[in-house]
Symmetry: D2
Subunit: 248 residues, 4 copies
């Protein structure tokens, strides 16, 4: 078995090198955090359009209020204020299949459509074969998800409306045809299309959500420090799920 | 620097050895889980009384309903059902200073009293110098914490009412004298006294709570599988902590 | 939608009730930790045989030395000693599909065999259709896994060798026939069979591993407190995975 | 007790509002991720200099190779590939007092110096009273930490060399005088000074490290997907910490 290696980083007495670049001389003060994220994940410099897309997706996913993740973070922070890292980790553990699964599922469908000889036919086949297509529909945002409008608009204005965005158009048309009505294109679908067109590996999509949501959860920790919600969340939870004796 | 070693476990082709004992030949089917926990933490066999004490403390701390930990576990499990370990970990991350700190704080005080030349005087000094003595008082259980009664009763019946239990008596009397009224001896104080008398290292007290609570949280995962509470907990949380625009 | 409820626990001023039983009056000092785990997960009292089985499985899975989980716990504990719960959580997060997946996978196969009209035929069909049957084979323990011997021997001596243990015999014979040689019955397979026969819900198998391993990891925290391995683990890791510049 | 509120986010049918701003209309495609982090944490727009500082600090802390955190993430990912969030959380749990404590400790000292009537005298008093001043010294980077040079240089070029940077100069001079030799100003001290001058609340410093490191750990997950190091890290760990039988 060949020994595994890492190309991410090594340190010498006078330098720290990330994927071949000097952290102090070529990165600190020279690139933004988002540029470094793109470089860390791809080994390439983002083009201006790719950078705008990645920034927009990170901005989109960062903060959604008192989600299950945010509630977990706030309950945990006040329970264990000695360890902010534990509170943030508790929240990130909820960034799983229920919330990110649709992005991942939609990305896989878009990849199939892009790879197909006949993209429209593939989109139709997908829409007809699935009862529920990931990335479509939203309980609150109807008839459009305003984030989707913003994300796809950005892709167009950046001239970054690539094969996966086009595939999403095909899929949306196919989904509507199969359903006999318009289904909202969820922001998760737009994120999937934009990041794929920006050449972020689809295997790391959940990681993009984790980076973004991590920042949102840190904001919740800060709010919890001055405006603690833990006690209220605890009491509300106890009342929402009352004790009921089992029948024997 | 000498190389660190582990004495906990090693494996050979036909054996697995825990602290010098054969797992298949001397432990599986021969000792209970609690006996092995005691052995793992001390390298000694628990006496019958020590075993009864450790079992009782693990039983006491296991399950308290929809605590912040349990809420975090249930929110996380339904958000990420692919990873039960993440849901349990999220709940354990709330087993921190707010909930276990009083056990740890009380244990430290009991150790001081036990080590003092004049135990009663040390207890008095502690009670007078602290505004709030960890392990005393309870918002719901008054005038007695019924778990404390059960735990101290067990220690007596097991003839395991040792120096730390006596120190807790001194401390309780001193706390009441300083307060001018009776303060409930919380179960956390009784756990601290019993485990110290059972010769569990006090530096690992939080670990005992983690083992016990882990089992409780697994029970919540199982209930969440058939009687999911996540959506109700989420909605209750959102309503309990409404959005309020900041004043600029 | 009907409101979810919990039957696990509720508190009153003078009692704490777990699934209908008084914690201070019926559980503390009356049942072992393992008895309460069984009761928490099933709502029933374990028979003596079921109790022996559950204890044996918890004992089997608790401690395996410096596993990836234990390494993660020890690295995390010394990095963040303020939060033992974080170190234990980090280790538990590695109790996932690679290590527990075979138990879960084997349990599913045993359930199929038990449910089949012709159990032997079902076992044969499974063995012929799968390239690798979960729960069989072990890199180190050959030709027998000594834990399996101990676990199945316990089931026999407890007269608890039930339908799932018999199904495991069928499956083992079928696997050997299909492979043309004897494959070790891994302890994970024995655990799957024994717990199913003990009527622990198979959907919570991973949770049993979590409870057990939690206790093992707490032991590693305690050893790390006095015999810290973090620095050595860190340096060994850096040397095992050297930096290699990517080809451009 | 007044009901807690959140000002971070709320959603309506056609909008999502973050601290009073429309996510789709005012944020997506309009601000960078770092700008939104600054806004989330302060409620203010970052000035160009504050933005450059925050970006530089996030870039500085993101990736340091096979740290204990990165090892924990890689071990956990391959153990439980079904849950990337668990692997990232495991790594973040190591972002604790050992690694971030010096930043937090140094920030507290700089705040004292800034608040003092005589800043130089306060710096001297600190240096004389502490055996080891957090933020000074580095095992590898000598005589200068190249990241510190880059960070303080950026602050100067951005005309953002504020009171906390000046306080760091005073503290460095005092530390050298007390030690009788030059001690390296660690990057952690520079980060503390720059973020304080950029008006990031010091109570959330650890959160900045968490956001940054989260991105680095996602990079390790991606590398682990194609160049898995888990097995090598495991074996190296086992060899680095051999089993040693306890003396009885």
């Amino acid at each position: 078995m060949t020994k595994p290696t890492t190309s991410l980083c090594h340190s010498t007495a006078d330098d720290i090198v990330l994927r071949g670049r000097s952290l102090p001389r070529e990165l600190i003060g020279k690139v933004t955090f988002t540029q470094l994220i793109y470089f860390q994940l791809t080994g390439r410099d983002a083009t201006p359009a790719q950078l705008a897309i990645l920034d927009a997706c990170l901005v989109t996913l960062m903060e959604h209020g008192l989600t299950p993740s945010a509630i977990a973070t706030r309950l945990t922070y006040t329970s264990a204020p000695e360890a902010m890292q534990g509170a943030v980790a508790a929240g990130l553990l909820g960034v799983g299949s229920l919330f990110v699964g649709t992005t991942e599922g939609c990305a896989a469908l878009l990849a199939r459509i892009v790879a197909a000889d006949d993209a429209r036919a593939e989109a139709d086949a997908i829409a007809k074969s699935m009862r529920r297509v990931p990335g479509f529909g939203h309980p609150l945002h109807k008839p459009v998800d305003p984030r989707t409008v913003a994300l796809l608009g950005l892709a167009r204005s950046q001239q970054a409306y690539g094969a996966h965005c086009v595939a999403l158009d095909f899929l949306s048309a196919a989904v509507d045809a199969a359903a006999g009505k318009h289904l909202v294109v969820n922001a998760t679908a737009a994120v999937a299309a934009l990041l794929a067109d920006a050449q972020i590996p689809t295997t790391i999509l959940r990681g993009i959500a984790l980076i973004s949501r991590c920042a949102g959860l840190v904001g919740h920790v800060l709010e919890e420090q001055t405006n603690p919600a833990m006690q209220a969340l605890w009491e509300a939870g106890e009342q929402a799920v009352p004790y009921k004796k089992e029948s024997p």
